[in-house]
């Protein structure tokens, strides 16, 4: 039993060192962030949400649109916008057709079990990325934190 415990502990320790050495944690299971970096394109969904996201034909504007543009610039990448209703965009995000959604969502959003919401960047407002794409979530939240006053 003692040897087993030691072996197990050793395996965890070795594994942790290997992991920390070879790669960065966390990574995306579906490689969203790597792809955005490689292609230089962030595919974003915009759903009208108060004055945070305004959609007028093909033109999108508002504070959250600026946030997504700012984050994309930090990757660096340019943004390809797609406008639509929340449900349509959430489904597209789940199918892997979008990388991020700006829609005036809050941390009380009913979509929370289908998309990964960020921590609120201000007053309960959040952005959404694909479920489990933790490197993307990490990069986005880090960027949102860095621009806090």
């Amino acid at each position: 039993m003692v040897t087993l415990t030691r072996r197990f502990t050793a395996a965890i320790a070795v594994g942790a060192v290997l992991l920390a050495g070879c790669t960065t944690i966390p990574r995306d299971p579906d490689g969203t962030l790597d792809r955005v970096r490689a292609t230089g394109v962030l595919r974003a969904g915009a759903s009208p949400g108060g004055d945070l996201v305004e959609v007028d034909g093909d033109a999108v504007s508002g504070a959250e649109v600026d946030l997504v543009e700012g984050f994309a610039a930090s990757v660096p990448a340019r943004v390809e916008w797609r406008a639509g209703g929340e449900e349509e965009l959430v489904a597209a995000l789940e199918r892997g057709e979008l990388d991020i959604i700006a829609g005036g969502l809050t941390d009380q959003s009913p979509w929370a079990d289908r998309v990964a919401l960020t921590r609120p960047y201000a007053a309960g407002h959040v952005l959404a990325v694909p479920m489990g794409e933790n490197a993307t979530l990490f990069a986005l939240e880090s960027w949102l934190d860095a621009r806090r006053p």
Partner: protein, 322 residues
């Protein structure tokens, strides 16, 4: 300190006092684990299952403290065997709780795995740094994994001294806790390197171990409640006192054939000894034999010696294999 009307020898009195203290310390420690793990568990299924296990491991210490108190009540005409069965009943109740919760968690984790749930793990903003939430989870698992192993190591010898199966089951669960913590850590590191399924697989492993604890506990508790022959505190073998009682019963010159049945009432054993006299016996001889057997061990609190013309079937007449 007593178990019913049985006064405890100094070693047992001391063990009981230390066991009670350890259980209180364990409860306080586990309560902090429950709070810490809940605070950091996020969307990780493995962390959720580990949290439920922490919650469940509060049950055996409480059961031990309550049943030790109940077992101390003296027997009376309405409870002629005392209250020792409190241990077995409590043992069964906690085993059923483990089994039920474990089964639920197996289904819960497996359905997440089959549905392909990708657990999102975000970040914390601490001291101006953005850190991945997986790291605090791992720290919490290290915290909850270390303490119980030490507690289990300290409780186990006491469970043998006291012949207390609830304490033993509790010590076993504590000793195995590092595996829960280890599995959860591997699951979280797995998510970290992009293996979304690692979390659910770790959760399944932990849940399966809870089910196994439950099934074993139910089997052991039922054996005692169904008046199976007394076994050691870890249920590994027939209790050596069974053979000792049989040997003692054959001791006196007036005893021809002898048979015994010994059952575990929880801490204490109840022995019925059937002897076929080969010479005229006095009541005093029978009582003297009962007293000799009682003096073998503090656990033999209730010993009945019955002179018979024939030893009844299905009692132990030959020593049990050790």
């Amino acid at each position: 300190m007593t178990f019913g009307d049985t006064a405890l020898p100094p070693a047992q009195r001391d063990a009981l006092r230390r066991a009670k203290r350890l259980e209180w310390i364990g409860l306080a420690y586990l309560a902090t684990c429950v709070v810490v793990v809940f605070a950091v568990m996020g969307s990780s299924q493995a962390m959720k299952v580990a949290w439920v296990e922490d919650l469940l491991s509060l049950v055996p210490p409480i059961v031990f403290l309550v049943s030790a108190r109940l077992a101390g009540r003296p027997p009376s005409p309405t409870h002629p065997y005392g209250h020792h069965r409190a241990i077995g009943s409590a043992h069964l109740a906690s085993a059923v709780a483990l089994f039920g919760m474990g089964a639920f968690l197996v289904v819960d984790s497996a359905s997440g795995l089959l549905a392909g749930d990708h657990p999102p793990i975000g970040t914390y903003h601490l001291f101006g740094q953005t850190i991945w939430a997986g790291w605090p989870m791992i720290a919490a698992m290290v915290y909850t994994g270390v303490g119980p192993v030490i507690l289990g190591h300290l409780k186990k010898p006491l469970s043998e001294t006291l012949h207390d199966k609830v304490l033993f089951a509790d010590a076993e669960m504590n000793s195995a806790d590092w595996r829960t913590a280890g599995a959860a850590i591997v699951g979280i590191l797995g998510i970290g390197i992009g293996w979304w399924w690692a979390d659910a697989v770790a959760a399944l492993l932990i849940a399966a171990s809870i089910v196994r604890d439950g099934v074993q506990g139910i089997g052991n508790a039922l054996r005692d409640l169904m008046d199976g022959e007394a076994r050691t505190h870890d249920d590994q073998a027939t209790h050596p006192l069974v053979n000792a009682v049989l040997t003692a019963a054959r001791g006196p010159a007036w005893v021809g054939e002898a048979g015994v049945r010994v059952r575990d009432q929880g801490h204490l054993l109840h022995a019925e000894v059937f002897v076929v006299p080969v010479a005229p016996v006095e009541v005093a001889d029978v009582e003297a034999l009962a007293a000799t057997i009682r003096d073998l061990d503090w656990k033999l609190h209730d010993v009945v010696v019955v002179p018979v013309t024939r030893v009844p079937g299905a009692v132990r007449t030959t020593p049990a294999a050790s």
